[in-house]
């Protein structure tokens, strides 16, 4: 047997941390679902109660329908856009990419608020314009509806499918399309019958991610579904947490969500792993953009429409509200005011604190997630432990757990004694770390895989230890991709609501929770001001990241 390398203990400790973060909450969740509230005895009563009222079943059905509708709409938005950018000579690609990026960075619930200002059935700006133009009694759009909710989720989910699809389309050689056109097929037929089917696994992968996101989302449904008077799984789970708190029933109710997510994720990995597609799309020849002629302006128009809907219009509405005394009074000098920003920044102590909290927790979570992910990726790729592959699987597991379910699991596992992490920053940071660990790990694993082990072996044969190799060679060389991965964790962490809504305490409120609370009083002016601050802060940090890494970092496929 080999002499025991002391670094093996380090690796084992890291593996233990991983299990603590991922396995324990999940286990506690399952256990809790079978526990009676006071006696902790085994019972199936929770499941019975969770599925007893028609309302609860209705919510589950609504969620599934929502997921399907959002997926379909997202396809409609993302695939033409990805195709136009990756394979045609449409002008303004940089602008559209920026727009897609803007949609990615915007918290969905903030966009939802913007759209409430735009499309509230009677007072929304678009409706007022419509009523003014046509003299109609009612507005055209009602955001407080199932289609409204579908729309709002879709315009902020399409970046996922967009990234997946364009990444796949970038690798398809033009020779594939040439072969079809030589045989007489026009552009549309070629695209529909040749190009798109080739990237079908990537598209499907993106769609599945979108579906899972949609059913696990909390913010937008809470803002729209309640006034629209329907329920989804996440809002129903939230209700189980209102007085009296029924963690056990919530756990039981969350199980189908978990089950669906696991099943779809498994399906997605099956689809994207089919070798045939990889071989075909591999390193094929050069890419020549398809000439669209006059149609390229139509495509540009379509892409601009999508970008306006997700970014331009809502931001305009939010800006108007942020600088207004009363948003409903419209744009005028009399209505212009900087008071909202002043109030948020200087007077409302809770708001100030929430801004700091959000950025601090997100930064901590990003550092922890990247650090842990890198260590695990190192162990897995270098096979330092016998069960290394299993570790990689555990690191990706949280991807399969909806944020809100993870939060409940964390709550069940860590809020009460012995750890008593209720209302601490720690429980939020840990939950965020766990939630975004899969993103960090996917990036770290990809980076490690592309890293030639001979680089480290060269260090060792020259006399350096493994740790020297990590310090002097691995870490510096991975810096670039790590910074990118850090940002990919930091950005969603700053606006994370689904997990935070269950785990925050009076002192650990984050900006997302703050925004959500402000929406309850209808205080859109302050809300918009805070939301704009969040956006400006995020964009500033991303711009910094751009400078450090270079152009390609997000546009070329993050997840």
């Amino acid at each position: 047997m080999r002499a025991l390398d002391p670094t093996v203990l380090v690796w084992l400790a890291l593996a233990a941390v991983l299990i603590f973060l991922v396995v324990n909450p999940l286990l506690r969740l399952v256990l809790t679902s079978f526990q009676a509230a006071d006696t902790h005895a085994f019972t199936v009563a929770n499941y019975i109660e969770a599925y007893s009222r028609p309302r609860y079943i209705e919510a589950l059905r609504n969620s599934l329908m929502l997921g399907a509708a959002v997926s379909a709409l997202t396809l409609l938005f993302a695939v033409p856009m990805a195709w136009a950018i990756s394979r045609t000579d449409m002008p303004g690609k940089h602008l559209i990419r920026l727009g897609a990026f803007g949609a990615f960075v915007t918290p969905p619930y903030l966009g939802a608020i913007g759209w409430i200002l735009l499309a509230g059935p009677n007072a929304g700006w678009l409706n007022r314009a419509w009523m003014g133009l046509t003299g109609a009694e009612h507005g055209l759009f009602d955001i407080y509806s199932f289609p409204g909710l579908t729309f709002i989720i879709a315009i902020y989910s399409f970046p996922y499918v967009f990234i997946f699809t364009s990444a796949a389309l970038e690798v398809v050689s033009s020779e594939m399309e040439d072969a079809a056109s030589i045989l007489g097929a026009g552009v549309l037929r070629t695209t529909w019958k040749v190009t798109l089917p080739m990237v079908m696994p990537a598209i499907l992968g993106g769609v599945i991610v979108t579906f899972l996101e949609a059913i696990a989302l909390f913010g937008s449904p809470a803002l729209i579904a309640l006034p629209a008077r329907f329920n989804v799984v996440t809002t129903q789970l939230w209700q189980f947490f209102s007085y009296p708190v029924k963690v056990e029933v919530a756990a039981a109710y969350a199980m189908p969500l978990l089950g669906i997510t696991v099943a779809l994720f498994w399906l997605q990995s099956r689809i994207t792993r089919r070798k045939g597609y990889v071989a075909l799309t591999g390193k094929g020849g050069a890419r020549r953009p398809i000439r669209l002629g006059a149609w390229r302006w139509a495509m540009l128009g379509y892409c601009l429409l999508i970008v306006s809907m997700s970014v331009l219009l809502p931001y305009l509405a939010l800006s108007q509200a942020a600088f207004a005394r009363a948003w409903g009074q419209g744009v005028s000098l009399a209505n212009f005011s900087l008071d909202n920003f002043h109030f948020i920044l200087f007077e409302h102590r809770t708001a100030q604190q929430s801004v700091i909290n959000s950025f601090v927790y997100a930064a901590w979570a990003a550092c922890l997630a990247i650090g842990l992910a890198l260590a695990i990726a190192y162990i897995v790729t270098r096979e330092l432990l016998p069960f290394a592959k299993l570790l990689g699987f555990v690191a990706m597991a949280p991807f399969v757990i909806p944020g809100i379910v993870l939060a409940i699991g964390f709550y069940a596992a860590y809020a009460p004694p012995p750890l008593a992490l209720y209302d601490t920053a720690a429980i939020l940071v840990l939950a965020f770390t766990t939630r975004f660990l899969p993103i960090a790990y996917a990036n770290a694993a990809a980076a490690m895989r592309s890293f030639n082990p001979e680089m480290e072996e060269a260090v060792r044969i020259l006399g350096g230890t493994r740790l020297t190799a990590i310090r002097r060679v691995v870490a510096p060389l991975l810096k670039r991709s790590l910074v990118g991965a850090w940002l990919l964790v930091f950005i969603p962490a700053t606006r994370e609501l689904s997990a935070a809504i269950f785990l925050y305490g009076p002192n650990t409120r984050t900006m997302s929770v703050m925004l959500f609370d402000l929406s309850e009083e209808g205080n859109f002016e302050h809300l918009a001001a805070l939301g704009l601050l969040l956006l400006v802060g995020t964009v500033a940090i991303v711009a910094l990241g751009y400078r450090v890494i270079g152009r390609d970092f997000m546009v070329r496929g993050g997840s």
């Binding site: 579904a225 008077r229 209700q239 809770t350 009076p506």
Partner: protein, 341 residues
């Protein structure tokens, strides 16, 4: 009739109360300053009023910081019970609108028994609110009908609760949600008593816009999104003060009188600061803040602003604790079934 009942109670109980701990305010202020901060879970006022109150308090006692945790009634209670369940007390003073919550908390011994000096300065109607001396009224307002004057004339506006269920108001109503708002909870219980649940079935058919907080109904009216709302009188009147096109109607059946209490928690991390803050809430400085936000004045030495309609001048209904205690959780479930969320 309520008033006489209160009056009799007051006379009967004056001098018969068991005396919990009393302390001179100076000594209390000194002890509180040592603690340095007080955490206030509040839902009975809006954020701006709550912040104004905190500001006023720190003006009087500069050494004490006020942590304002302003949420809806339902959320505040959820937070408190979670804190207590996890043995992680944060809240020093609890001020919501649902009397049933206080009854339950008192039952579990979660409230501190304390007789504030400033309670003596309250108007007679507000004396001896809780025979056990664990909670005291600190805010009062009414649930009324409000409407947008740009879209409706005074003649067209509905004059009674019953009128709201008329199909002519389809797509024009704005309501709060009883799970979140104590005001709405009280209103629902009362109207269920008056007209049965069928009233709400008809109301649901009118497609109202349901917000979480009842305060949101005022902003919904202001923006012109809806035309008629069931709103709290303080918020509506404040909004009128600001120049918004609203008007208030005191319904025929009676406006719902909300007397919202405050209490110091037995598990308060800053017990002295908590008691001092309760004194403040019952005192003249806070009463000034209250009347400015168009709440009722609870003290005879602090008059309401001109043009204010007090509850004494209109027909009101006030629910006893027992009705609220059992009623609100039941109607919340019914509401969810009927309104779908």
């Amino acid at each position: 009739m309520r008033r006489t009942t209160f009056g009799l109670l007051a006379i009967a109980l004056l001098g018969m109360t068991a005396t919990p701990a009393r302390a001179g305010l100076d000594a209390l202020a000194a002890a509180a300053s040592k603690e340095g901060e007080v955490t206030w879970y509040v839902s009975q006022t809006d954020s701006a009023t709550a912040d104004a109150a905190a500001h006023a308090f720190t003006g009087l006692y500069p050494a004490i910081k006020v942590n304002v945790v302003r949420t809806t009634t339902g959320i505040a209670y959820q937070r408190l019970t979670q804190d207590l369940r996890e043995n992680s007390p944060h809240c020093d003073v609890f001020s919501t609108t649902d009397l049933g919550q206080y009854a339950t908390l008192k039952q579990h011994g979660a409230l501190a028994a304390y007789a504030p000096e400033n309670a003596r300065g309250l108007s007679p109607e507000f004396q001896n609110f809780d025979p056990d001396g664990t909670y005291y009224p600190t805010y009062a307002g009414m649930v009324v009908i409000a409407y947008n004057t740009k879209k409706l004339t005074a003649d067209q506006a509905p004059k009674s609760w019953r009128a709201l269920a008329d199909p002519m108001w389809k797509g024009k109503l704005s309501l709060g949600h009883p799970a979140f708002s104590g005001y709405v909870g009280n209103w629902v219980v009362e109207l269920k008593k008056l007209y049965g649940w069928d009233y709400f079935e008809r109301l649901a058919r009118n497609d109202p816009l349901v917000s979480r907080s009842i305060i949101d109904t005022v902003t919904v009216l202001n923006s012109g999104e809806r035309v008629v709302a069931v709103s709290p009188s303080p918020s509506a009147l404040e909004s009128i003060d600001k120049g918004n096109p609203l008007a208030v109607i005191y319904p025929e059946e009676g406006a719902i009188l909300m007397i919202a209490p405050s209490a110091v928690l037995a598990s308060a991390p800053h017990p002295n600061a908590g008691r001092l803050f309760l004194e403040f809430l019952l005192g003249p400085a806070y009463a000034e803040v209250t009347v400015k936000s168009r709440g009722e004045s609870l003290r005879p030495d602090v008059p309401a602003l001109p043009g204010f309609t007090s509850f004494r001048q209109v027909k009101t209904v006030h629910l006893p604790v027992k009705d609220v205690l059992d009623g609100i959780p039941t109607v919340t479930e019914q509401w969810r079934d009927t309104f779908g969320g």
